[in-house]
């Protein structure tokens, strides 16, 4: 019986280990890091958006928490995962990042600064009331759209 349990545990560990290994090693790490970063924006924006839309009741504390997360994310130094050579021209379907991001005259960095400013403003007003928070969210949305408009390939 002990042998059987040991064997099962080993097998489970092996399967789990393999899965984690595959998850950890499949794909370009820079792409995965920035997609995770985007996912965190999305999660925190979702908390604010649900309140702005009226799906969830406005809660000043929760709004401030989500907004300061977004501001922190926008202030992150992301240079290490926006590496040249990681656009959809080089990596295909793995990423929708267009090569234009890294080309001369790119405004991607500037848009990220706009996002940092807009999200700092959002964090400053998110606790002041639903209308103030919703208006601040609009400025953040504009920065998201500006970058996606110019630098992200269509989904399909």
């Amino acid at each position: 019986m002990t042998k059987f349990i040991l064997a099962s545990v080993s097998l489970a560990a092996l399967v789990l280990g393999t899965t984690v290994w595959a998850g950890g090693h499949g794909g370009n790490p820079a792409v995965k890091a920035r997609q995770a970063h985007m996912q965190l924006y999305s999660f925190n924006l979702g908390a604010l958006g649900a309140m702005a839309k009226g799906d969830v009741e406005y809660d000043a504390e929760a709004a401030m928490a989500a907004a300061s997360n977004i501001a922190a994310l926008a202030a992150f130094n992301q240079a290490a995962y926006w590496l040249p050579g990681t656009s959809n021209a080089e990596l295909g379907k793995e990423t929708r990042a267009l090569p234009k991001i890294w080309e001369a005259g790119s405004t991607a960095g500037q848009i990220n600064e706009e996002l940092a400013t807009a999200s700092a403003q959002l964090a400053a007003v998110a606790g002041d009331g639903k209308a103030e928070m919703a208006a601040g969210l609009g400025g953040v949305g504009k920065a998201c759209g500006d970058c996606h408009k110019a630098y992200r390939a269509p989904a399909n």
Binding site: S42, L137, C144, G145, A153, P154
Partner: protein, 291 residues
């Protein structure tokens, strides 16, 4: 035999001449607009609802959305169309036009010189616009900044570069009929915003071989004219968002799972975000009622 050939040739000429005559580019009747005076403030709303700037601002322009020098290129299977300068500049733009010239362009796809415009300019949508909205839009557009940039020629090959062929094309595809029914004032407003101004269907509805919209497959999604990817369908079969989700997306660009709009749709959001909330709600109601 020679007589017969001569006769056939003459008949052919008459038929060709008649087709050209009956499908010539026609301006609107001038008396239709003489009594109308435009309201600049409402014209601004028409301007954003009509999405003029999405195509007529310069490539990558991010500063002032009301500067309209043109220059964006639209690659299609028929050729590459280049949006012209429609700023009020008297030499390079449309500053010398009259309201009738403007109405003829927007409603009939007819230039002041009496030529057919290519339907990359969505006059097949704008033809449903009310005369008052045309007058208001014209009043607003005359207040915009001038841009002294020359319009670039389209790059369209034979046979699509024969503008006379657009005469019969218009007979087939240019009409003021509504596509969807509308039974309430909100539904009518939503339909007007989508089918007369917003020209959503120009991208979201598939086209037939001649480039006409397949009204039977209204808003069911279409290949991207640029050849890359698809533009999604927005009928309830394709999109299960709530009306609130749709209205919020049009306001902020955020999808229900908080991705954000990109590509051409980001331009659409910029315009739609400037409309009153009731208008976005009316569009959402229209979209939910599609079948």
């Amino acid at each position: 035999m020679l007589r017969l050939l001569t006769l056939l040739f003459c008949v052919g000429l008459v038929v060709a001449g008649s087709v050209l005559w009956f499908t010539r580019a026609e301006p609107v009747a001038p008396e239709r607009f003489t009594a109308l005076s435009g309201d600049v403030v409402h014209g601004e709303q028409v301007f954003y609802a009509g999405g003029c700037a999405s195509c007529h601002q310069a490539e990558g322009q991010t500063d002032d959305p009301t500067r309209l020098p043109g220059g964006q290129r639209f690659v299609t299977q028929f050729g590459t169309f280049v949006a012209p300068n429609i700023s009020p500049d008297p030499i390079f733009g449309i500053g010398e036009w009259s309201l009738t010239d403007f109405a003829s362009a927007v409603l009939n796809g007819t230039s002041p010189e009496g030529r057919h415009y290519f339907p990359a300019f969505p006059y097949t949508t704008y033809t449903r616009m009310t005369d008052q909205d045309v007058a208001d839009l014209w009043a607003f557009m005359q207040t915009l900044p001038s841009a002294d940039v020359e319009s670039q020629p389209h790059d369209v090959g034979f046979p699509f570069n024969i503008r006379a062929s657009l005469g019969p094309w218009k007979k087939l595809f240019l009409n003021t009929d509504w596509v969807q029914p509308a039974t309430t004032p909100e539904a009518e407003r939503g339909r007007y915003l989508v089918e007369a101004l917003g020209h959503c269907s120009e991208c979201h509805t598939p086209r037939n071989l001649l480039g006409g919209l397949q009204t039977a497959n209204w808003m069911s999604g279409a290949p991207n004219p640029s050849g890359k990817g698809r533009i999604p369908g927005v009928t309830p079969a394709h999109l299960d968002w709530s009306p609130e989700d749709i209205a919020y997306y049009l306001e902020t660009g955020f999808t229900p799972d908080f991705d954000s709009a990109g590509g051409e749709m980001a331009n659409v959001i910029e315009n739609m975000s400037k409309l009153p909330p009731e208008d976005r709600a009316a569009i959402a109601a229209y979209v939910k009622a599609l079948n």
